[in-house]
Assembly symmetry: C2
Homo-oligomer: 158 residues x 2
DNA sequence: GTCCCTGCAAATGGTTTGCAGGCGG
DNA sequence: CCGCCTGCAAACCATTTGCAGGGAC
């Protein structure tokens, strides 16, 4: 669950890519006079393992009992978000969810969410990026971004 | 915007277009053993006048003082949403906003929201509708829908 | 040793709900 | 009159925050 060092449940899976990220996390933290604490490390590990959006509570639940407070999870995720190490997603249910961000990745992608079982599929490409320019120009807006999520019923729930 | 039939929303002001909708509201309510109360009428009127997404609190504030309780506003909007007379939008700030729906209109459109002053521009066309089919097919999902909103800085705030 | 970080608990803000009385049809 | 509706207040849920002690560096 949250021992960062010697667990390799996906020896050649996504975890392999993430292993090198720990030092980077430490480095980025120190740059801003922040500390690499156990709680932050544990949360980071959980996100690295579960490669789909997780809510604060879900992350908290994955934590070895009593590893840290729920409030700390909230605070840590804000910090990680500011550091651009996670990206927040909003599925419209009033709960923030976070995904780990690879270095240099801005994390821009969308999801397909099952409205029955909450299964999440990642949609690789973004179809609307080019549209931002058009919309920006037509309305005189700058610094344009967008949020897009798809909803439906997954094969198993049909 | 979205009045397909015989409404001329701007020629004589928005109220002209909406006037005929009252009986429809009453009719739809009665169908389900619901009543046309003062509160519901007032809320309906406010939405008809302000043709952009309004939060519960904003609607409540527009109400003549003491016209009804905030809880009633929430309850009324749920009812109107179930009746497909309003559509809920989510700008990602944890507040539900509602727009009046013309009869037969499913209200599918998107917004461009200023992240500084919260000004809202309606985006007429939906660019992603055709994509739903593709995404549905690729992932075996059915009953697909999507949420898409744009954010940026409006001309006045730049 | 200095600040940052954390646990705890209380506060916040949006939204929902239980209940008893009120009013529309 | 019969239920649906409403006001009021308390409950809920996600999230935030104040504070004092604890830990990273």
């Amino acid at each position: 669950m949250s021992c960062p060092d010697h667990h390799h449940q996906h020896a050649h899976g996504p975890a392999a890519a993430g292993r090198a990220e720990l030092p980077e996390l430490a480095h980025r933290l120190r740059r801003q006079d922040r500390k690499l604490t156990g709680a932050r490390q544990a949360i980071f590990e959980i996100l690295r393992r579960q490669r789909h959006p997780l809510s604060n509570k879900e992350i908290f639940a994955e934590l070895p009992a009593g590893d840290c407070d729920l409030a700390t999870v909230y605070r840590s995720l804000h910090l990680l978000e500011d550091m651009r190490m996670v990206k927040r997603f909003d599925f419209g249910d009033g709960v923030a969810r976070y995904e780990l961000l690879a270095e240099g990745d801005d994390g821009h992608h969308h999801h397909l969410v099952c409205t029955r079982c909450a299964a999440v599929v990642e949609i690789a490409e973004c179809f609307t990026r080019e549209l931002e320019d058009t919309i920006a120009r037509q309305n005189g807006f700058t610094a344009i971004s967008h949020k897009l999520e798809f909803f439906g019923i997954c094969p198993r729930c049909q």
